[in-house]
Symmetry: D2
Subunit: 408 residues, 4 copies
């Protein structure tokens, strides 16, 4: 997504201070990476900073609709709360989250004008940070303190930029008009966190919406604007439950969840191409079985579908659902399909592109603006786009036929 | 099955006449081979001969229950009736069959005694008879007159033996007691014809039941008695019906019956082994699709299951049914499963074995009696066995859950 | 493809005569539809007419390279030659074809100038023409005389237009310069006939190349120019050969070609999407097996791949090849893969588009010119495009690793 | 296997002492359960006791042929050695094992006579012992001290019985003749340990061979003799290695090990039945893939085949091998097949049965002897049977085509 222009040349002095603070913030967050739905330390940091700046802050069930939450693991949440408590996050704050991370801040300039929203994502990825002495975070002492977790996708920077921008707005409020909504989103990885915030209505009435991602295909001084090109996507967890039996003595008494899963995989890989748009079906993981000589009882598949349009993605999800149900019927096993992540397509408005271009030109060090029409990934910020994809932020999550589970 | 002892030594003179007649009858039938459910010429020949011997004769719906008929092709029946008419079979006879071949004859000695049943099968196989000049039927002028059809499995001989035995009974009726039921069965190939005759009740009250097959593993002078070893079997025709589409332009609009069939085949081949008895799943034919670039609309599978016990065979049929339904659901196609043949297991009674042994010893040229416990094939005479498999001739055909068809 | 402008307004009188002749020619061809590689009557008609107009005519091995011929069935050719002979095509002509249909005509105006090539396809499709009295060919007496064959795709019209244009060139030769190559191509259906003509070098040195198709998406008065959008495609016939066995008695002795084919189908349907371009894999037909209780010996698959680029299509063909080889290895069966059709992508030059537009405007009744960028089908005329796809008409057919067959 | 008669009535007094010692030994071993190839503490205990009794003791490479070892995990071995050292097993002993568990003891009475071998297995299973206060090992204080490991299959008792018998032989040596070979076998679970001991030649020259298993289908006072009925079996670990790619951005660059594995599973489940004997194919575990949106690089399958005869099992293994190779070829992935366990069939000699019956009758509390002909499991003691399966202990492991791995 577009890296937005932070400041103009005139406020150079103040900018430096903001920049320094942003660097410190980013490093602090970098050292405490938290995966999706466990961002309690980060949420606390964001919440405290926004309050200190005079923003109105919303957390927990005030920020999102829990029924729309996807891919949240209560066990991990529990552990993260304990860890945050040990790090000094006050019990009162943790309680008020009701177990849901994410922070929404609002600020009103007091002057009539548009309502402008920004999205910043806060979660890390499951990557082990290198201990190489030349790695900057190691050298400068802000490497990840949490084994197996790392801000390798730049969300630490996004959050730091968000807080810097919040400060800049406050410091420049006399020159600004209208109001601001800042969404510090949990669980962007796996496209799990935007839906429940969109459902809370935060973007229903905004006039402008911006989001960005550092790096991507851009060099220093370059601004890339993703005009369109995100795939709609559904992340699905499929499980089958069979019946155990001694595979040597009584093979006929068992019902193999493993074979049902393999059959489903073969069928899912073969879902038809679609002339309406490009498609992807990725079966990323399959774990099945308990022992070599026992008819497998459990099988779990992690998969995702992607479609060039929401309709094309729905076509894939419908086929996956049929296949899973059919495989369960064929093998007399039970099944469950869980939607654990979701995003839709997105098209930047020409007006938005124009605004960003003009803003970029005022930034020191600016070189070029590049427009990207095909990014090839998926982003759940698409669910927050208010005007251009009016249906997507609602309809998409409504049919929901694929969210439940069913038992034969 | 056991080749039963025809006559004893005392009636040697008469025997010769009977033998000559049997040879002539067999050659006549050999020259007019008729496949299952088309044996109109043969039925007429049998019917006429039995009547001339003074037997009570039952044909058409008096001989069998049409609802129990399996694997009968109305088109082939139609053509066979026309052919029989051209061969001089009277219209009155053909009408009275109501389209169903098969003849049951009964004869009462007038003296109290057991009721004894025999089964003789009449249908040929789809084999082209050789035109080799040294082939006896060619040399002697009684080769098949019907292209692609031949009595290559000896049923012509069985029928001829049946008629010879009917004559012998009449000629020896003063020395005999009780009554006789002779079943001249259609459509043994594909195990299609015995069920509807059993359902008519012909064997419900008999005290002895015999059936035989010439050749098999026996040499001249040898009597083989199949004590047990037939597999229970179901012959199933499975079809899928999809939705066509131009596979290049609109692949997503089609529903491929071909792929559903392939998926079902892969799953059916993998049906579990069964510790209760040996199993077979044979997918013998698959024809699917209309053109290279059209999503296939039609797919037809011919398959058979075999089980060492009826229960084991039912286990296979149940799995096939689940798989077909599951594949149809997975691919959003319609399906149909037709039971087109069925037979069960069979165990000869020790008393029957004893009787046959004793009778064999009285026959000139007799050498040995051999007992076979594992024959490895299937025979629908098993459905006619009245006392030893009481459940099989009834229950087996009742659950019938796999006979119907279902549409999604 | 674009329907090219035949004539300008000035020659209106002569045009009528040409038109009348074209109508008659088309009707004659319509009544004798011949499928791919059997167009002997049509080739004779074309050849005679071109000669009578003073064109140089090339047939048989003078017109094409037989080693490059795809999807030609010698049995059908044999029958077609007999049929043509009965229709009065002279034996000398038939002999000179050496069994290969197709006619190339050349004409030199005697004046320096560009070399311009046109392609006209001659084969029919396997469709039964209706006998409806209101169907124009029935009413006017020029319906198909050959059961199951029909010019339902308009190639009769294309050929008639080609001959009309040939006449027009002769009649207007004083106003024209350069030379002409007219390719009357066999076997366009199945994309089988263009390759061997391209390989003969007919288009290696031409400056302009045109081809067209009547109808498609156009109305009367409309000219549609297909600027780009054809898929590269490969038509493949895959066969497996197994080992028979009695599926009840000795299942372990058989090797099922049917199961190998089903497994290959499941794997082929699942060939990965490709980020470089759209893909299609269509398994159109599968016929396998000999009888219900015999391990299937023969299985034949008709399939096609399509790719948005030649590379993408090659990716698909490579995967199909791997899968077929793998399935054969897994099931210990033999396999054969035959390339029976092939076409590549194609992009019309801007200059060509411009020329056609200008020409169209001079035609009476002209309404609009429409440019099509996505046609969604495949056409082997793509193999004849000389300059724009220099690699395609050669390289594509060279790797040829998938053409041979291999035996385990 | 047969529970052998330990003692006769006359030596009752001494018997009690031996029994007490056996109980203590069993409890000690029960508290330190060690899984296959990690039985260092148990091996030390056995070795020390045998030496103290005056037996000749062989361990490490003196006991087995390391090249024949199956399913040994060097990492687990390393940890087990550390654990044993902490438990006080001397470093000298651990070193002399060269990392291989298992103990063979020999004893010569000094009198001419037969050579008699016994097999006792020492490994535990991966089961967590209950902490229920009423569970005897808990109540009596000898429950497993090693989490997740338990002697739940009675091998602790077998080893204790072996040591008791060793003592009894010593104490009764004046009444005995010939010599004894006692095999304290590692890794019976998974049928991994017998082969390398057989290969060392310990049973090549023995005249009698006995092995037993407590419990099974027998009650107190009952002796069950397994006359025949073990399946031949192969335990196979199959792995596929693919190529990663971002499944959304570049699906065509990846090669999915997961899909290859699923395809192989579908094909393996469908391996043909065999008329020569009953078969089993059990795919017990499948773990594949690294992340939802990454083309899976790793897939690992744990499976086993079983056949009523060695030939039938070889048929299954050959098919598995073909299928794995075929799937790898179809999907362009690498594969590896490892044989990690193996056992063959076994038939007790009539003489052995007779000996055991007579011995049983002399034991106090004896009730019945039962003969089992179908046990339905597998036991690698079958590989140690010297005379009756001469081929099995050698030939079976020689073709070994399925042991290696291959890279495409």
């Amino acid at each position: 997504m577009a890296v937005f222009a932070l400041v103009n040349k005139e406020s150079k002095e103040r900018q430096m201070n903001i920049l320094e603070e942003a660097i410190q913030t980013r490093r602090k967050i970098h050292s405490r990476p938290e995966e999706g739905w466990t961002e309690f330390e980060t949420s606390y940091l964001v919440s405290e900073r926004l309050k200190s700046l005079g923003w109105q802050v919303y957390i927990g069930l005030d920020a999102l609709v829990p029924e729309e939450v996807l891919g949240r693991n209560p066990e991990l949440v529990e552990k993260a709360i304990e860890r945050a408590a040990k790090q000094g996050v006050p019990a009162a704050f943790l309680e008020s989250t009701q177990g849901y991370t994410g922070v929404v801040g609002t600020f009103d300039t007091g002057r009539q004008g548009p309502r402008t929203a920004f999205r910043f994502d806060m979660d890390c990825v499951q990557v082990q940070e290198t201990s190489d002495a030349n790695h900057v975070p190691v050298k400068e002492g802000f490497a990840s303190q949490i084994p197996g977790m790392m801000h390798a996708c730049g969300h630490d920077g996004h959050t730091a930029v968000g807080l810097a921008l919040a400060r800049w707005i406050v410091e420049n409020k006399e020159d600004l008009c209208g109001s601001f909504v800042f969404i510090f989103q949990p669980a962007e990885e796996g496209t799990r966190g935007a839906g429940p915030i969109a459902a809370k209505g935060w973007v229903d009435d905004v006039n402008f919406f911006f989001a960005g991602h550092c790096g991507m295909y851009c060099q220093q001084g370059q601004l890339g604007i993703g005009a369109k090109g995100f795939f709609a996507t559904s992340k699905l967890d499929v499980s089958f439950t069979g019946i155990p039996s001694h595979a040597g003595a009584y093979p006929e008494r068992g019902r193999s969840a493993l074979t049902a899963a393999c059959s489903a995989v073969m069928m899912m890989q073969g879902i038809s191409r679609n002339s309406e748009g490009d498609t992807r079906v990725s079966i990323g993981k399959l774990n099945a079985g308990e022992g070599r000589n026992v008819t497998p009882v459990h099988a779990a598949i992690q998969l995702e579908t992607r479609g060039e349009t929401e309709e094309v993605n729905n076509f894939l999800v419908k086929n996956v659902t049929n296949i899973v149900r059919g495989a369960a019927e064929a093998y007399e096993v039970k099944y469950e399909i869980k939607l654990v992540g979701h995003a839709t397509t997105l098209t930047t408005t020409p007006k938005g592109v124009e605004l960003l271009k003009r803003a970029a030109e005022t930034v020191e060090g600016y070189k070029t603006v590049d427009i990207y029409n095909s990014i090839g990934g998926s982003e759940d910020v698409s669910l927050l786009f208010p005007t251009l994809t009016p249906d997507s932020s609602r309809n998409l999550r409504e049919p929901r036929l694929h969210r439940g589970s069913q038992t034969l």
